[in-house]
């Protein structure tokens, strides 16, 4: 059925292409096959791919400075204020841990070691700027027209651009892709939050060390930020209203936060901030309510140098004029409602990435969706983006990688009696010599209990989780079964091999601690 519909759409598209020459012409304005609003990972991938396939393409990108005044160049969240700077700073944090370990490996480091924030920040920012430049060059090479302009829709084929100087322009396009992403959310009912707080949009561009930091929110962004700050020796606390890593496997989430707590990050569980005030000393006084039970609430306070809000992200749809041209937004999330082919409620307007409703907020899915969309728009393919079994990794001090279903979702989808969960607590060799606590290093494979025991979800906490999980994601895509996992010879001694050795079921109640090799 789906295939039939897909075929049909393609046929219509071909006919549409045949009926009109690409691009429509208005005197004195640009005309394009495709105009992409938003120069982040998804938008850039889509525009480059379309141009490669011979389409005439323009990209509009404009960064609205954050509440603290931070702004950046082309490339979107991932490049400027997301994955890239975060991973680099995470690596700095891992080096901090490595230094503690080095002594155990026979290295002696005389004298105290300190970390200089500005050296790291400068190196990270220089690299990000080189990427901004690289994206500009790539667009130029592919003959994609780039406008450093804020775009909005005038009608289903017309985009209005307004640059920082107030200059206006109008572009028309056969197809329009909205890939404007999202921005961190500030709380609305906490006095001082916006005035004194920062977000992940600012952290990586700070010239001075953020110092003692309170991170509010235990999303992966919050935990990653707190983890990297703690890793370079700063005092970091996380304030959590209810659970950490919502949407992820909760057992794994507990291991991740447990490891952070064990390594000195403070967690304020069940707490809701009430106000932020700036003291004459320049420090921020944060007041919050700790909800101990329905009846017992305790008011608490502490001072911090920085408060970072990581309580979620809002889709960047304001000013796009979407409802006016008929593009429907989701009433709860405010994201753009899309069909399986990324089409919005206006047939020639598409949305990809974080701004689209129901899509994972991840760079690689936006990139892939953008490329596939470009191929379909150019009439080169009818392949749809498959959003199932998306692997991902949380770069907390103890990394967590996963693909497929969490144990909770597998349970609710298949029933507790119909899934088999294999698990193991293992000890990475590098932890053994370093005498590090490995009690949070864990692997878990969730299988369909019936038949060939197809793997539904695979979870891993430990070093290099991102590198470990990618290959397993390919095998899950190929329909991995438990027997196939067990039939693969392990690579010794690695952490990844634990996934091929896994054999204790949760149901058995046996001790899942790995002994020996």
């Amino acid at each position: 059925m789906a295939a039939f519909r897909r075929g049909c759409a393609r046929w219509q598209q071909v006919r549409f292409l045949g009926a009109r020459a690409p691009g429509r012409t208005f005197a004195g304005t640009h005309h394009y096959d495709l105009v992409v609003i938003g120069g982040g990972s998804g938008g850039l991938a889509c525009s480059r791919e379309a141009a490669q396939l011979g389409q005439k393409v323009a990209v509009l990108d404009h960064v609205q400075p954050s509440a603290r005044g931070t702004a950046w160049g082309l490339g979107g969240t991932c490049v400027n204020v997301g994955c890239i700077p975060k991973k680099l700073m995470h690596q700095a944090a891992l080096l901090g841990v490595a230094m503690d370990d080095a002594g155990k490996f026979g290295w002696s480091i005389p004298g105290p070691v300190s970390h200089d924030w500005s050296t790291l920040a400068q190196a990270v920012q220089n690299y990000v700027k080189s990427l901004n430049w690289g994206h500009r060059v790539q667009l130029q090479d592919r003959k994609v027209k780039y406008f450093n302009t804020r775009g909005s829709l005038l009608d289903r084929h017309t985009v209005r651009g307004l640059d920082a100087k107030g200059t206006e322009m109008t572009l028309t396009a056969r197809n329009i892709v909205i890939a404007t992403g999202g921005r961190p959310r500030y709380p609305t009912h906490v006095p001082g939050a916006r005035e004194f707080g920062i977000t992940s949009d600012d952290l990586f561009w700070l010239k001075e060390s953020p110092g003692k930091t309170l991170v509010v929110g235990a999303s992966y962004v919050g935990l990653e930020c707190a983890g990297l700050l703690a890793g370079i020796g700063l005092d970091a606390s996380v304030m959590v209203r209810s659970v950490a890593l919502r949407g992820f496997d909760q057992q794994m989430a507990q291991l991740v936060t447990g490891h952070m707590e064990a390594r000195g990050t403070r967690f304020h569980w069940g707490c809701v901030p009430t106000s932020v005030e700036k003291l004459p000393s320049g420090l921020l006084q944060v007041k919050w309510t700790e909800v101990r039970s329905d009846l017992e609430r305790v008011e608490r306070e502490d001072t911090f140098s920085s408060v970072l809000w990581a309580i979620g992200r809002v889709p960047e749809t304001t000013g796009l004029n979407l409802p006016q041209v008929g593009v429907q937004l989701h009433p709860d999330t405010g994201k753009i409602v899309v069909a399986t082919d990324e089409r919005t409620t206006v047939s020639n307007v598409y949305a990809i990435g974080d701004v689209a409703e129901g899509r994972p907020e991840l760079t690689p899915t936006a990139v892939k969706a953008g490329k596939l969309l470009a191929r379909r728009l150019a009439g080169q393919s009818n392949q749809l983006m498959d959003y199932h079994s998306v692997p991902t990794t949380v770069f907390t001090p103890l990394e967590y990688g996963c693909v497929g279903l969490s144990e909770e979702s597998a349970e609710s989808r298949y029933g507790k009696d119909n899934i088999e969960v294999y698990h193991a607590f293992y000890k990475p060799l590098e932890f053994t010599i370093a005498e590090r606590d490995a009690s949070h290093c864990y692997v878990k494979v969730v299988c369909d209990r019936a038949g060939v025991q197809r793997v539904l979800g695979l979870h891993f906490t430990g070093p290099s989780a991102g590198e470990v999980i990618q290959g397993f994601a390919v095998s899950v895509r190929c329909g991995l079964t438990y027997a196939q996992l067990r039939d693969t010879v392990g690579i010794h001694p690695t952490c990844a091999e634990e996934l091929t050795k896994i054999h204790i079921t949760k149901r058995s109640g046996l001790d899942a601690t790995v002994t020996g090799c």
Binding site: C78, A92, H115, Y127, P364, P391, L429, G490, C517
Partner: protein
């Protein structure tokens, strides 16, 4: 010491009845006389499964057989867990590798904003720790055997002339319908006749005994052990020379890996001598003097050039490994050996003598711990669970070499694929990039990757890579490749950003 005590304790724990009564897990066939004192020496103790060699493969086979209800014994003349070619060897290795990785990190600290991280290295400290960990591992092996009620027999095993395959250890005889030889291997040495002074050098076994980090090391060999040791010694501050016979190292790996690894060794400051052989070694007050002969083997007219490396305090031969078959009396048993002395086995680990099997290093094939473990378990399932088809698939075995940076490889090299499929059916995808970690460091390392695909459906038959993290990357891809993944399956997998492994699913 503690180990021996442990053994005695173990035996008495099993045989809690008077001393002349055999272990309860075995049946004793009485000798012709019934005198008790004669019985102890003449009796042949019978098991269902007798394993010669307490390395990883043998232990895994014994444990699995015991789980399946067989009475088992393991004969071991050394520490359990195998010191030669076994598990512990790899653990030793990885510990030393991790140690040397720290040396590399220490270079990067300043780039990542850390100040004051100038480090000195204590060889003694890491050696003590490593040794403690290894004896801990041995203890674990011992406990696992105890739990599985497997008897351990200490001593050298030798096949007797009895009609039924029988093994003698310290004057006592043991037999079983199924006897597994898993005695492992040892590093090859060079005789003083071939290279005068060769015995002044040590092998990888001796490497682990070193009490301090050599100031100047010379390694001979181009295989993975030579390359790994060179990387470790060099990172830990030893001036390191590597002598190789041909133009590059790891010549049986994919050409991309061989050339890249050779380049990485040179980039890391290792003094590489191509087309070179050791001619002689002399001991002097200042250390060893090593005379080298260099001659391009491809150039017939080239004259051999003679050089000398002086003041060497550690010469390491890493020119290959040999099977531990001496003393087993295998020639009498009808167990065929190949010209190198390795036991010839079929795909089911059968030797040429019925009821005798072999696996692991002693067969000279796929010298990897997990391979031996898997083969041991498969064999146990075949012998004691009636699974006639249970055997290890020796294709697509993932291998990691702990070089700097590590190498990960599985399946066919591009050349092998072309040889078996023809040039037109083979398509290789390659990439080379600087991992993000190194974008802000002054010390740079590249990551290279190659996917070898065959046929119209572009089935992935080989994956070869060298770069930081490749050790942990390979396992999952190995599962996928074993499942028969195609290039399209790779492409349809969503990347994990930002990682190095995502390059493997975004290759063009």
């Amino acid at each position: 010491m503690g180990f021996m005590q442990q053994t005695a304790h173990h035996d008495s724990a099993l045989a809690f009845v008077p001393f002349f009564v055999p272990p309860i897990s075995s049946i004793t066939r009485l000798g012709p006389t019934s005198c008790l004192w004669r019985m102890a020496s003449d009796a042949v103790t019978r098991f269902d499964f007798l394993v010669i060699g307490g390395g990883s493969g043998g232990l895994a086979g014994a444990r699995r057989a015991a789980e399946l209800g067989a009475t088992c014994a393991v004969i071991e003349n050394n520490r359990l867990g195998g010191t030669c070619g076994g598990n512990v060897f790899h653990v030793f290795w990885k510990v030393m590798w991790n140690t040397s990785v720290h040396a590399e990190y220490l270079h990067d600290h300043a780039d990542y904003g850390f100040e004051g991280a100038q480090a000195h290295f204590s060889w003694q400290l890491i050696k003590n720790k490593r040794d403690a960990y290894v004896s801990h591992l041995n203890q674990i092996y011992r406990n696992n055997l105890d739990k599985a009620r497997i008897q351990t027999i200490q001593g050298n095993a030798r096949f007797t002339d009895d009609p039924e395959p029988t093994v003698e250890v310290s004057g006592k005889k043991y037999t079983a319908p199924h006897i597994l030889i898993a005695t492992g291997g040892h590093p090859s040495t060079v005789s003083d006749e071939d290279v005068p002074g060769a015995s002044l050098g040590i092998t990888s076994d001796g490497f682990f005994e070193l009490e301090s980090c050599p100031r100047h090391s010379v390694l001979v060999g181009a295989g993975y052990i030579a390359v790994e040791m060179a990387g470790i010694l060099s990172s830990l501050g030893s001036k390191t020379s590597l002598i190789i016979r041909h133009d590059g190292v790891l010549r049986n790996f994919d050409a991309l890996i061989s050339s890249n690894c050779t380049k990485e060794l040179e980039n890391s400051g290792i003094d590489l001598w191509r087309n070179t052989q050791v001619k002689s070694v002399q001991k002097t007050e200042q250390g060893l003097n090593i005379t080298l002969g260099t001659k391009d083997v491809k150039d017939k007219d080239a004259k051999e050039k003679t050089d000398r490396i002086q003041g060497v305090d550690c010469l390491l031969w890493a020119i290959g490994r040999e099977p531990n078959t001496a003393g087993l009396n295998l020639s009498q048993m009808g167990v065929k050996l190949d010209p190198k002395g390795c036991i010839v086995v079929d795909e089911f680990q059968n030797t040429t003598r019925q009821g005798i099997y072999a696996l692991g290093d002693v067969c000279g094939k796929a010298l990897l711990t997990p391979v031996a473990i898997a083969a041991g378990r498969k064999l146990a399932h075949r012998l004691f669970e009636g699974k006639a088809e249970s055997k290890l698939d020796y294709t697509n075995i993932p291998t990691v070499v702990f070089t700097h940076p590590p190498i990960g490889t599985i399946g066919l090299t591009e050349d092998e694929a072309i040889r078996s499929w023809g040039k037109t059916s083979v398509k290789a995808y390659t990439t080379s990039f600087t991992p993000m970690y190194y974008t802000i460091t002054s010390r740079k390392t590249k990551c290279v990757m190659k996917l070898v695909c065959v046929g119209k459906e572009e089935k992935v038959v080989g994956l070869h890579m060298q770069g930081p993290g490749c050790d942990e990357m390979l396992q999952g891809f190995a599962v996928a490749i074993k499942m028969g993944a195609t290039k399209a399956d790779f492409d349809n997998t969503i990347a994990i950003h930002p990682t190095s492994s995502e390059e493997l699913v975004t290759m063009r």
